[in-house]
């Protein structure tokens, strides 16, 4: 199984025959420890620290189908090196575009993404409700918004409802994490407190995980339905991430905060924004990766599949919808 590799430290990546040679730089910027990664182990690379590399490396990665995703100091996704799009399928492309252009077709899909997202985040709230946390008011309120989804006539309206659902959900969130944290309001640009910083980082990992899976199917990552294409370059990943965030990110946040794997000291305030310190980022990535590998018994496939594979399956379902084989039903946590 190919794996995602995260490069946090500054360093140099080079081709060495059929392996990748990674030389980390130490504090003084001098070459230090050298590591080798066989290419057949690498699915893709996520680069957080500054990376030196040359075009022969990228040619090599491109031929091996390995993409590289870059993030800035604040963990914002800044762009990708994508290996040649070897999987694009003409008929699917045409269908995907048509489903974007046709308003009813686009609405049908966009609504599904919000439905899936709402179902999964309600599942989180209900789980805690069952454990004696009083979040009933939020559940009721969100159910009210969900009931309004079928009546939304256009995408902006749908986005509005989605926004309301999230806002209510975050209000409930405050009751599920230790008292040191509170959302206040959700701020993204920039995240102003710990909970917001953690959520931004987690959402970014989820977005990247969706992008990786889309890339291994024939879907075009730039054509999306709920989000306007161009919101980010690969906006289809935003659509998919909507459905998976409650399971992959929000539960991770509950876990790391409640188990105190991340503590208030793991954040720093920097020019009016709150960011995670590096060791804490590594913790979050580790927990996130564990989560992606975790398996559950799939109902119709009759075998266990990982969360990561669930994202790929979602791409298959979307493909089937676009090719008019089967209507898309968003992934809803069934356990």
């Amino acid at each position: 199984m190919r794996k995602t590799y995260y490069l946090f430290n500054p360093g140099r990546l080079a081709r060495k025959d059929n392996t990748l040679q990674y030389t980390a730089y130490d504090e003084d910027g001098l070459p230090g420890q050298v590591k080798y990664l066989p290419v057949e182990d690498v699915a893709d690379l996520y680069v957080f620290g500054s990376l030196d590399a040359n075009s022969s490396l990228y040619n090599f990665l491109g031929k091996q189908g390995i993409s590289v995703h870059f993030f800035d100091y604040y963990e914002h996704y800044t762009g990708s090196f994508m290996a040649k799009e070897y999987l694009l399928a003409g008929k699917l492309q045409v269908q995907q575009t048509q489903h974007y252009i046709s308003k009813p077709k686009r609405m049908a899909l966009a609504r599904k993404f919000v439905e899936g997202s709402a179902f999964n985040l309600l599942k989180n709230l209900r789980y805690y409700q069952g454990r004696g946390r009083d979040v009933a008011v939020y559940i009721d309120q969100i159910e009210g918004y969900v009931a309004a989804l079928p009546h939304a006539a256009a995408v902006p309206e749908l986005m509005g409802l989605e926004g309301n659902i999230r806002q209510t959900y975050y209000a409930g969130f405050d009751r599920l994490v230790p008292g040191d944290y509170s959302f206040g309001t959700r701020t993204t640009q920039p995240p102003q407190n710990e909970l917001n910083a953690l959520m931004s980082f987690g959402n970014m990992l989820c977005y990247a995980a969706c992008l990786s899976q889309i890339y291994h199917t024939q879907l075009n990552p730039t054509i999306s339905f709920l989000h306007e294409p161009g919101t980010r370059r690969f906006s289809l990943a935003l659509d998919l991430a909507e459905v998976f965030k409650p399971l992959l990110v929000d539960r991770l946040i509950f876990r790391v905060l409640n188990k105190k794997e991340i503590q208030p000291k793991d954040f720093v305030q920097d020019l009016g924004r709150c960011v995670l310190k590096e060791p804490a980022r590594k913790t979050v990535v580790r927990v996130f990766e564990e989560r992606l590998k975790e398996t559950i018994q799939h109902r119709s496939l009759k075998r266990s599949v990982s969360y990561q594979h669930l994202i790929k399956l979602e791409c298959y379902k979307l493909t089937k919808h676009l090719m008019q084989l089967e209507e898309y039903k968003p992934f809803k946590a069934w356990w």
């Binding site: 699917l92 298959y316 090719m323």
Partner: protein, 169 residues
Amino acid sequence: MRIITATHVKYYHVCHRKLWLFDRDLWMEHTSEAVQGGELLHQTAYPQRAERYREISLGGSKIDFYDPHRRVVHEIKSSQKLEESHVAQLKYYLWLLEEAGVEGPTAILEYPKQRQTLHVSLTADDRTAIQQWLTGIRQLQAEEAPCPPTINKPFCRQCSYYDFCYVGE
């Protein structure tokens, strides 16, 4: 008209849905371990044969091992499970060779793991049958052809489209 390759012919004998998806470029094989194993088999099973056999391209199909002097096609497969489709694929190669003016080509199908060998040649009945396959394939390729349903056979479990076909909700 869309091109018909030996893979189309093979899939036509395995599952029409698989052919329909494959023909629309919805390929899954790149992730399948089985296929990688198959490629490796070609590279390692008979290295010394490279001398006599040539790789040739005919009408969109690639024949990996063809001996032009003896007019023999060689095909190596790892498992006998889908033998019927392997034979169909070979008969299609022979038909393509005949169409290209080669007289009386024959084929050898080998399963090195099972140490089994099968000789294949083209009969008049085969030539008629191949015309029917081609018509069937063209019907599935047509723009308006709906995707055939899943076949629900034990084979599906090994098919690279299994997850795609049976993912459900």
